[in-house]
Symmetry: C2
Subunit: 402 residues, 2 copies
């Protein structure tokens, strides 16, 4: 089966005029999950659900020493179609390629679809893989709310899933010997090097902080400028301060989400909430960056007579992928490709979460625009096919011996 | 009937944990409109609807030379309970007081409830009074959309009102000889002067501008800081520039409403829209203020490589209330009050719209907090009762002779 043929089966799901909307446990997600089950069935794979909403399709019954690939279905709102699903589609196609080659793996090989990787619905990135390895308390996770106030437990139950099954699965984690996630690149490094596929070496530490600015709601027309306690001013300053500190200190800082209360044109707002996404090359640099941003905002909040509170919503430590596994991936991918660059990334991934317990690595597929989390994210069909073959080469090597 | 008793009949309608939500043509609005009709019926008044959603209750059938009072029911989201409804409740109570005094007016006296004064639902302030006097094209008004994409025509039809009745009513306007709107003060001038009631003399010119910032959506983790075209930065700068220019030039400027697309924590936004509310003492000062803000933003947008477009959503010219009517109001209110200050206001009102065609004036009732468009807006029962008596005195004088 050609890449494009399988790709077209899911391309329409969640597509909007402004990119994709594929929230976890939405109708779109359920359609993608049904498609996953159909792929497993079409190929005679064993379908497994881990109680947390993560799906696995096993070639050969799962047992110790399994090799896992896969990624996630969910998107950021208005995201591209490749971020996540490319790794799942490529996983199934890599199995097809191995079978076409007549490969008989010595270990079970699985394709995974992790749930709520983006954290776009419930606010915690890599929620599914965190639940799987026990990195987040199930009670806390089930109580997380989306923008409409719906909890994860309610969202699961609403789609016929059983929230009481949510739990760590050390048994499942222990049976995995290696996880290799294929993902569209979220930058132009491969494009600049002229390579269709690369191998991930590191993930920058990163996190999300909720910033709540509380002032005093009032009439926009009648309230004198110097009598105001306007939290929008402090928020605006925070946006600019985050950007400036990231430029000065060398990390990345973004405020991409905001909500104002009451959000009326003719009212000084009572409150504004903004979300800070910050990343840096190591944990100290990240702490330094976030600390510098916080200090600047606190100073300004005092001048504005606005209350300011900053809460960590999630953080991900720096990840160094398993060096022998990285080298195995590079070696295997070189069977077909002259050059397979090694890349660090500032984006979080389920591979980074699983890497705490399982040797993990990543394959990246070239993205000519370099754009990500937006509709112009792209990968050519030829590069996607090269990614599938490289993944097949990696899986063949990893599963060749027990 | 005491002020508090009538007030309590509407106080629960649209009350939330964060102030009032009484959008035009909502279920709350329909409840308030039913209450209005019941008040008219209880008092044997003639109920009239002008086709635009504005309600009138006439003591004596409407004819030329009528005297009108009243205000509006709708609130900003999270607003106070007095802004608008106080003028309607006080109108009915003033009629009661005149009847209790045995007054037999020589002219019809009406109480009005204008629709969508705040413009919180469809974006155009004083929409009902503008439609009445023909200051906005009915087709344009009917096509205005709320945040959910619902048009005014759809909202009216959804509540059983006939959108095809929307039209200017010069006949109705011509029959009004004077309009006196009673309103809670939106500032602390009366509190500082120790006066329960004042008379409005002027309204500052003011307007709303939609500011659209368009950049390039991208991944918050992987996009280098210097490769970004981040519209949130330009928006943040605009918020601070508007505030600074208003302080420098002496007007009022507020950005209280914002929306970001896709509004995701881990995405550089593709677009941000903000709304500017600006007011100044005269038209030249307002044009100068808005021009200065626009110039600053354009400069910054170019540096950010962000597209910036600014569109006027509505403007209201300066209003000078009818001088003889203002003096009549002051004289009448002094029958009972030692001091009746004259006040200008920076807030828009239906009285300002009607003033283009009809002698108009306003009574303000003291607001001890000075806060407006927020839950802590307040007026004491004693001051509200003083407002009712002052309004009764004004109406008695104005309706005494033909």
């Amino acid at each position: 089966m050609r890449f494009r043929d399988l790709w077209e089966e899911i391309a329409p799901i969640g597509r909007t005029d402004h990119g994709y909307l594929r929230y976890a446990w939405s109708g779109e997600d359920m359609a993608l999950r049904e498609w996953f089950a159909a792929q497993a069935s079409r190929r005679g794979l064993f379908l497994e659900e881990d109680g947390n909403g993560n799906l696995f399709a096993w070639w050969g019954p799962r047992s110790g020493g399994a090799i896992l690939t896969g990624s996630h279905f969910d998107s950021v709102p208005g995201g591209g179609g490749y971020d996540g699903p490319l790794g799942i589609v490529s996983g199934f196609l890599a199995l097809d390629e191995l079978r076409a080659r007549g490969v008989r793996p010595a270990r079970p090989i699985g394709v995974a679809a992790f749930v709520e990787e983006e954290g776009s619905r419930f606010g915690v990135a890599c929620l599914g893989s965190r639940l799987l390895i026990g990195a987040i308390d199930p009670e806390r996770a089930l109580a997380l709310r989306d923008r409409d106030g719906i909890t994860l437990a309610e969202a699961m139950a609403g789609q016929g899933a059983d929230p009481s099954g949510v739990r760590p699965r050390p048994d499942l984690v222990a049976s995995i010997d290696a996880f290799v996630e294929l993902h569209v690149e979220q930058g132009r490094a491969l494009a600049e090097m002229g390579a269709p596929v690369g191998v991930g070496t590191d993930i920058w530490p990163h996190g999300r902080w909720r910033m709540v600015f509380t002032g005093e709601g009032n009439h926009a027309g009648t309230t004198p400028m110097d009598a105001r306690r306007d939290p929008m001013l402090t928020y605006a300053y925070a946006v600019l301060a985050a950007n400036k500190q990231a430029r000065l200190l060398g990390g990345h800082a973004t405020v991409g989400r905001v909500s104002a209360r009451p959000n009326a044109t003719n009212a000084v707002p009572a409150g504004v909430t903004g979300w800070l996404d910050a990343r840096a090359a190591d944990a100290d640099a990240l702490a330094g960056l976030v600390g510098a941003i916080r200090a600047k905002i606190e100073e300004r909040a005092a001048r504005d007579r606005v209350e300011f509170a900053m809460t960590e919503e999630s953080t991900s430590r720096a990840v160094r992928f398993d060096a022998p596994l990285v080298e195995s991936c590079v070696r295997a991918a070189r069977r077909r490709l002259p050059e397979v660059p090694r890349l660090a990334t500032a984006a979080g991934h389920d591979a980074g979460v699983l890497a705490r317990h399982v040797p993990a690595a990543m394959l990246f597929v070239r993205n000519p625009t370099g754009v990500s989390h937006a509709p112009s994210e792209h990968a050519t069909d030829a590069d996607c096919a090269a990614g599938v073959s490289a993944l097949a080469d990696v899986l063949e090597e990893l599963a060749a011996h027990r």
